[in-house]
Symmetry: C2
Subunit: 384 residues, 2 copies
């Protein structure tokens, strides 16, 4: 067969798994209360700290990222308390939904999808609502591919308010700089299946001393998502409930890869992938959904031409073994998204660009085959 059933998975998570991570996950099982497990749990928590940019030890949860978004809500916000959610897409909206479910008074700063908020709009919402208990941000809004500038937005909260800052960094942490302590972030949530290159099933939260002081007074009913249980157990090198040990084996190996490459280099690689992908898409005259400044190094969203169904492109690519993401909610059929985070380098993206060219040509879009790849190679050659 000319095209085999090899899969080139280029969605914004889960990402492909590196071979050394696969091998680590295939180690024989160990008892989750053993000394070996404790050593492992302490080690991975310690080594996650630089990615969060904090002196606090990140907590480990067995669950999807959403479970820890919910933990960030249920441990800090009591019913009737006022919060602000900066909504830049599907995942900002998810924070708002969780908060509504728990009886918070939810103020929203809705931003046009594909854009980041104007800092002045944030300031005026903060001034308008002086009693906010927390402000919720999404660092990379996976649904649109924007990277919200937490380094600018979070200090504004500190300037105008006593509110906690809670950040969903699930689809960015590990791929882009994050300085939780320096930026005044109180809770940062991340997940396993994105830049950390392991399968879904683990999620992480780092919590500031200010947030702990609120959490200690919180009396919402909670059990599995009770952050205090995780802190207490982590101090003893364990988790309150049976953890996904095989995924922790994987995390250990993934952190080894990230450490060997070096954090700065990892961020540089992701930045390069963004530049390369954007240059290639521009060469095809397809409209990028985000500006250069707002774009995330982990995922690139692209509009099709007018009246064009991006699902046709995705379906063509699928036949070539290449899996990209479509649009969510009202963007379904309107955009496609290329994930370039985690276990991914330029040579993983070049074939995606070739496949896009072939599909467009097949759909009678005028183009010279090789146009996007040429533009990508031009970016790439600056790095070699």
């Amino acid at each position: 067969m000319f095209i085999t059933n090899k899969i080139n998975l280029r969605i914004p998570g889960p990402t492909p798994i590196p071979p050394s991570v696969q091998a680590a996950m295939s180690q024989p099982m160990i008892g989750h209360r053993s000394n070996e497990a404790s050593t492992l749990i302490k080690s991975v928590s310690e080594r996650l700290k630089p990615f969060f940019g904090t002196t606090e030890n990140p907590l480990l949860f067995t669950g999807s990222g959403t479970s820890v978004l919910e933990a960030a809500v249920v441990n800090t916000i009591q019913p009737g308390e006022e919060v602000l959610v900066v909504v830049t897409g599907v995942f900002g909206d998810r924070f708002a939904k969780i908060l509504t479910e728990y009886g918070a008074v939810v103020r929203r700063l809705d931003v046009e999808w594909g854009k980041t908020p104007d800092p002045e709009d944030l300031t005026s919402r903060l001034q308008q609502h002086p009693n906010l208990k927390a402000v919720f941000f999404t660092q990379c809004e996976t649904s649109t591919g924007v990277l919200n500038p937490i380094n600018i937005l979070s200090p504004l909260v500190k300037k105008h308010s006593d509110a906690l800052v809670i950040v969903d960094a699930v689809s960015s942490l590990g791929a882009v700089p994050f300085e939780m302590d320096a930026w005044n972030v109180d809770i940062t949530v991340a997940g396993s299946q994105k830049a950390f290159m392991i399968p879904a099933g683990l999620a992480f939260a780092a919590v500031s001393p200010k947030a702990w002081s609120i959490i200690e007074k919180n009396n919402n009913p909670k059990f599995y998502l009770d952050l205090k249980r995780y802190r207490e157990n982590l101090s003893k090198g364990t988790t309150p409930f049976t953890p996904a040990v095989s995924l922790i084996f994987g995390l250990d190996a993934a952190l080894e890869l990230l450490e060997a490459e070096g954090m700065t280099e990892v961020f540089h690689r992701h930045e390069g992938m963004k530049n390369l992908t954007r240059a290639a898409i521009s060469a095809l005259s397809l409209p990028l959904m985000t500006s250069e400044e707002d774009a995330s190094p982990t995922v690139t969203s692209v509009y099709g031409a007018d009246g064009w169904d991006s699902e046709i492109l995705r379906s063509d690519l699928k036949k070539m073994g290449i899996v990209i993401a479509g649009g969510q909610q009202h963007l379904k059929g309107k955009i496609f998204r290329i994930g370039h985070m985690g276990y991914c380098d330029p040579f993983d993206i070049l074939p995606v660009l070739s496949a896009i060219e072939i599909s467009l040509k097949k759909q009678n879009v005028e183009l010279r085959l090789g146009t996007a790849v040429q533009a990508a190679e031009e970016v790439l050659s600056q790095y070699v």
Copy 2:
């Protein structure tokens, strides 16, 4: 080295992982919203049904077993509602703790650890509290090794009450018969790292139509553990939040093994392991914690002699590469527990018995080396 660092993991979960399951979990990652993922999710849910003994499709959660114990509570019980928890050890007590956290009025039927409840005691508690909304049982109480007779206890609830029956079957389902529909059970919770032979991180719940009618009216705040979201998504072959795909690959392979062996044969094997282990322990004159009738086919708990510290035995075994469990809470140091569920056969238990003999001898217990193994072989020879 005479004794290598090979590990013989014989705790009551997590269990060792079969090679075909390891291999399945090492398959390349796929998108969790792909058709392949949907086919897989539908398939494993369908194939779990016979183990639950129900026509309802079991729901798949990414989390520890406790997350779904909490789901069973938060989706059915409103604050102030009265429930009965049959507590036979640590995990029954966990149900009570979760229920207390969520404001239920908790009635307890506390049973001496190591025993199952007297059906008459259950009947009298049911008659004493006519307004119970649910009765909570633990099938195998992992902390003591009893198997509560849900086939007898659950129909009693139906006879005397309108309460839902909710069963934690985490450390037994897949190893022993369970007939959810026939026994009048409304919610059954199970986990991945026990008889299903995969790492921790997946958990399951099957829900009766009667329970759904209660769940539909329930208005507790909930998001990640909202059972309705899981039902709605499962009908479309997916999960509401990113699932632990690698573990689902593993579950698929584990179900293949269980199907190839045959459910009856799987149960028969576990029953044999119980008989073999108990015969061996009795031959050593160590007191078993449970009667023949109350004992679980998945785990055997053993008391030491008076004044004896079971942690010394565990530590000796550890040096021989054999990992068994100790006692929890007030039983720490008093008992040890041998897990014999999941990927385990008699020849995995014989070395554990040898190691126990060697440790006892070292501790100046009078015995002839080989005594326990001989008794185990006698049981085993009846099966060969």
